[in-house]
């Protein structure tokens, strides 16, 4: 296998009780690749990317992230997670800390940066998402969009090798979406690998190296955006795309 594979999933399967959420997932991601995952609600997109930093355990198959195989008895799960940033659908900011602290704690407690250095890093990324002026507010005092941007900044502060986004732009207004996507694009140029669950087809078209379409736990189709949008192979994908393009 080539050296620059950063995520490899082989025959991954996962069940919730009797319900199979993921079936036969085979996926490889190269360093610096930007992947967009889309698909209908409940198709297992969130579950899949949560397996990549082992917030969820898979029951069959193999997942290798950054050269480390994820399994039940691993010791270095923190090592994996340190290098895999995650932006949640529901933000999950730490409500008892200011925005600034939210961004500072990762670098401080994991990387051992001093408070001053961590603050500098934090402010840099808060500026990148255009909310440095909110640094001393508490999360609950921000609008939904502002909160989502803090969540992105918090992940970026750890300067991870891989970023997982779970619908990072869903609560943002269109202006902010494009700013955040710009940030993401520039990060991608720095060599950061990204897996992004999103329905922003515009973004997928513009930025993604590959688009993956999931349906009821399976990867139904994958391909470069051009092929994916203009010439979808599967009926299900075509239906999905037609719905999107309708409005």
């Amino acid at each position: 296998m080539s050296m620059d594979l950063i995520i490899e999933a082989k025959d991954v399967a996962k069940w919730y009780g009797a319900f199979q959420v993921l079936k036969d997932i085979n996926l490889t991601v190269r360093k610096g690749e930007r992947i967009v995952v889309c698909g209908p609600s409940g198709s297992g997109k969130s579950t899949l990317i949560r397996c990549f930093n082992r917030l969820e355990a898979h029951q069959q198959g193999e997942i290798i992230v950054n050269g480390i195989t994820l399994h039940d008895k691993m010791r270095n799960v923190a090592e994996v997670r340190k290098n895999v940033g995650m932006v949640f659908q529901h933000f999950n900011l730490f409500p008892h800390m200011t925005v600034l602290m939210n961004c500072m704690v990762g670098p401080m407690w994991i990387k051992g940066l001093s408070a001053a250095e961590a603050e500098k890093t934090a402010l840099r990324f808060l500026e990148r998402v255009r909310i440095p002026e909110q640094a001393n507010k508490y999360p609950v005092q921000l609008s939904g969009g502002q909160q989502q941007r803090v969540a992105i900044a918090r992940s970026l502060c750890m300067e991870p090798a891989i970023m997982l986004f779970d619908e990072p732009t869903s609560a943002l207004d269109p202006e902010m979406v494009s700013e955040v996507l710009d940030t993401m694009t520039s990060l991608a140029k720095d060599g950061m690998t990204m897996v992004c669950v999103t329905h922003e087809m515009g973004f997928a078209r513009a930025v993604a190296d590959r688009v993956i379409f999931m349906n009821s736990g399976q990867i139904v189709e994958e391909g470069n955006p051009q092929a994916f949008f203009t010439n979808p192979k599967h009926e299900r994908t075509r239906l999905f795309l037609s719905q999107i393009l309708k409005h």
């Binding site: 997670r81 995650m86 949640f88 730490f94 994991i110 508490y138 992940s155």
Partner: protein, 324 residues
């Protein structure tokens, strides 16, 4: 404060029907209880003649006056701003209770004479025994809560046995067991350490449950966020989960602190001269134990008001991040 609705309620006590109802109820209550024999009746002597002879008329007159005074008081207080209202009602209630204590005909000089000893010996002992015990109990509680929530069989079994046993047995029994039982195993332990040990173990068990529920109340999204950054269990617990659990933990813990103050009196059975022990003994000879009990109660009350104030400051501190 509850999250208040955006619609202001009218001031209830200024609505005529409410005032009328209040007046009627009080009138009825005081008609039912004959107050003519009390100070109230005495004060009304010019109007009703000899209170004891005044019969139904006297009774009605007294009840009427009481009801008028009460209603007027309430209506007037209703005009004041919130803080003043609270202060006035507090003072009035305090006054009522002091008047109630008056009915015991307490000897004030005796109280003044014994007060210094009550405070320097009793209150100080009570305070330091409780303070040390609370600190130990809190440490036990955090460990216990984590153990009780863990998937480790040993930790869970030991923690659940611990909480069950030390909550299940009366504190007095625990004091006995430690004071009388440990010597049988070869450790002779003094009264104060034995008391502190018993209190810590017992309250540790209660507080374990409080901490457990606090930790459980935190959304799993917080765990996920913390893990996804790469924080281990220790940091997640200390920096993310516990600080958020504190607002939920503090009020019941405050309860425990306050009741610890009182429960520490159980160590008097092993001869520690704390507040309650002195209260029971100082007045015993001259049969002025009511004096002593009431002054002690007041000292306890003052101590717990201090704890309440501290608690409300801490709560305000943690509420910062919720204000929007």
């Amino acid at each position: 404060m509850l999250y208040p609705d955006t619609v202001e309620a009218e001031v209830l006590v200024h609505k005529p029907w409410f005032v009328a109802m209040m007046f009627a109820i009080i009138l009825a209550v005081f008609l039912a209880f004959n107050l003519t024999g009390t100070v109230m009746g005495e004060l009304m002597r010019p109007v009703i003649g000899d209170p004891l002879q005044s019969g139904l008329y006297g009774r009605f007159a007294v009840a009427f006056v009481v009801a008028v005074i009460f209603s007027l008081n309430v209506v007037l207080i209703g005009f004041a701003p919130l803080k003043v209202q609270v202060a006035i009602v507090w003072l009035e209630l305090l006054g009522l209770f002091l008047a109630f204590f008056e009915t015991f005909h307490l000897s004030l000089p005796f109280i003044w004479q014994k007060l210094p000893f009550l405070i320097t010996q009793g209150a100080v002992t009570t305070l330091y025994v409780s303070a040390i015990s609370i600190v130990i109990a809190s440490v036990i509680a955090i460990l216990g809560a984590v153990a009780k929530l863990s998937t480790n069989g040993f930790a869970y079994a030991i923690a659940s046995f611990y909480t069950s046993f030390f909550r299940g047995l009366p504190l007095l029994m625990q004091v006995y067991l430690i004071y009388l039982g440990l010597p049988q195993l070869g450790f002779v332990i003094d009264a104060v350490p034995a008391g502190i040990l018993a209190l810590s173990l017992c309250y540790g068990a209660y507080m374990t449950e409080i901490f457990r529920s606090g930790i459980q109340s935190i959304d799993r999204g917080q765990w996920e966020a913390s893990r996804s950054i790469g924080f281990g269990f220790g940091i997640t617990m200390r920096r993310i989960i516990l600080p958020q659990a504190l607002p939920v933990i503090i009020p019941p813990t405050g309860n425990q602190f306050i009741s610890m103050l009182k429960d520490s009196s159980l160590v008097s059975v092993i001869g520690v001269w704390e507040l309650m022990f002195l209260a029971r003994t100082l007045g015993q000879k001259t049969f002025q134990h009511m004096e002593m009990l009431i002054s002690t109660a007041m000292i306890y009350w003052i101590m717990s008001i201090c704890l309440e104030l501290i608690q409300s400051r801490i709560e305000r501190h943690y509420a910062r991040s919720k204000v929007r």
